[in-house]
């Protein structure tokens, strides 16, 4: 039931963020990928099979809503979730810093693939640099914030 609820809520979340493009963005330019954060969060906190299925469904809806090729986001999120589940559970489970590193690598990987796909549309080296290497740090920062927000809320509810 919780898996189903999480998937439905995530789909609603995708619909919601796709209607507000500059969500958590800085000046409309530096736009973090909140869906990557969601996918990685699911990979860290749920079992592998569900995380694969979740990545696939979320990616599928992303493709349908964002207008890219059907299957593009699904495959990218699946690969990210595969590596996150495999290596995240093996090496980085305890250390929070390593989790952040994994988020960073995943986001860079996702952006490099996006860049390859949209190679003709890319304009300058600075834009590419910002897109591939700067924005992922902002995504990591957001993941960091969400993590502590989750911790805080957990503490708050436990003490109550």
């Amino acid at each position: 039931m919780k898996y189903f609820l999480l998937t439905i809520l995530s789909i609603i979340f995708i619909y919601f963020i796709s209607t507000i493009p500059p969500f958590f963005s800085i000046d409309g330019v530096v736009q973090p990928d909140l869906i990557i954060i969601l996918v990685i969060f699911v990979c860290f906190n749920f079992n592998e099979i569900f995380s694969y299925l979740f990545s696939f469904i979320i990616g599928f809806f992303c493709d349908a809503i964002l207008g890219t090729y059907l299957g593009f986001h699904s495959s990218v999120y699946l690969i990210i979730s595969y590596f996150t589940s495999r290596f995240g559970n093996l090496f980085y489970k305890e250390k929070f810093f390593n989790k952040l590193l994994l988020v960073l690598i995943s986001d860079i990987f996702y952006r490099i693939i996006l860049l390859v796909i949209n190679f003709q549309k890319s304009k300058s080296i600075i834009t590419i640099f910002v897109f591939v290497f700067i924005i992922p740090f902002y995504t990591v920062f957001l993941y960091f914030l969400f993590h502590y927000l989750k911790k805080f809320l957990k503490k708050f509810y436990v003490t109550r």
């Binding site: 099979i49 694969y52 059907l70 299957g71 699904s74």
Partner: protein
């Protein structure tokens, strides 16, 4: 257990790639539109929250300003175009001794381009049979005159005939309507040196059109079964895109006396008589 996960992962990955390949070949518009349908309430909510009343008011005012500016730009563009055309028409004035009447096309037979309606009529001194020209060349002649407007019978009309000649004034021929947008030149000498691409001009023999008005250029030579041939001519002016024309105002008795003059000449066999008859009777 581990292999089950792997199989599951790779099967999902395979489906993803399959979808990518398929979406490259087919566009799933209907499928995507179904998935995009739930976006509507979100869009509505975002619109409602995002645009406060004040924002909406500013937005509406900005839209009105932009619309007005666009309207102004379009008006200026039209005036510029009109100004250019009128300037060109004025340069024509020096070419003719006769008085010219400048006019704007206000109506058009869009199907075959046989008739044009212009904004000048009896009040402006327009008379039946007046030649109508444009910047590029011949257009037609006036066949009906009202108080404030007139009807022009263009070269796309099957009654159209005009005497033409080559640039060197060596050959005098007759130009008829051939099919919409094309004329044919007959009475061609067998030793004619005219070739495709040569321009032809009015000869002025018909006394409807003045001499040396460009008619069109030869695009084809049609040879008949009996060895006779005629030229197919493409007029310089396109009736369907014409905007301004000018009429040549001859002296008052010119049109009245012309029929009588023609009658005296007894040109019945040649065909000119028929033209006058058709025009003035």
């Amino acid at each position: 257990m581990n292999s089950r996960k792997k199989i599951f992962f790779f099967s999902l990955l395979f489906i993803s790639f399959l979808l990518m390949i398929l979406s490259n070949r087919f566009t799933f518009y209907s499928f995507k539109s179904v998935l995009l349908y739930p976006l509507k309430p979100f869009n509505f909510i975002v619109d409602y929250i995002g645009f406060t009343f004040q924002d909406r008011k500013i937005f509406r005012e900005e839209m009105v300003t932009i619309f007005q500016k666009n309207l102004e730009i379009n008006r200026l563009k039209f005036l510029e175009y009109e100004n250019e055309n009128l300037k060109n028409l004025l340069t024509i004035k020096n070419r003719f001794k006769e008085e010219l009447i400048f006019s704007e096309v206000i109506g058009q037979d869009k199907l075959a381009g046989e008739f044009l309606t212009i904004d000048k009529g009896k009040v402006d001194g327009v008379e039946e049979g007046m030649p109508v020209l444009s910047l590029k060349g011949i257009v037609g002649k006036i066949v009906s005159v009202d108080k404030y407007s007139s009807v022009v019978e263009t070269f796309n009309n099957s009654n159209f005939r005009v005497g033409v000649m080559d640039r060197e004034k060596e050959q005098f021929m007759l130009c008829y309507f051939y099919r919409t947008g094309f004329l044919k030149v007959e009475n061609v000498k067998y030793d004619s040196k005219l070739k495709i691409g040569d321009s032809i001009f009015t000869s002025g023999f018909g006394k409807i059109f003045p001499e040396n008005i460009p008619v069109g250029k030869i695009i084809k030579i049609e040879v008949l079964e009996d060895g006779d041939f005629f030229y197919v001519v493409e007029p310089f002016e396109n009736i369907f895109s014409i905007k301004y024309v000018f009429l040549i105002k001859m002296d008052k008795d010119f049109y009245r006396n012309r029929f009588e003059r023609a009658k005296k000449r007894e040109l019945t066999k040649f065909g000119w008589y028929t033209i006058y008859k058709r025009t003035f009777e």
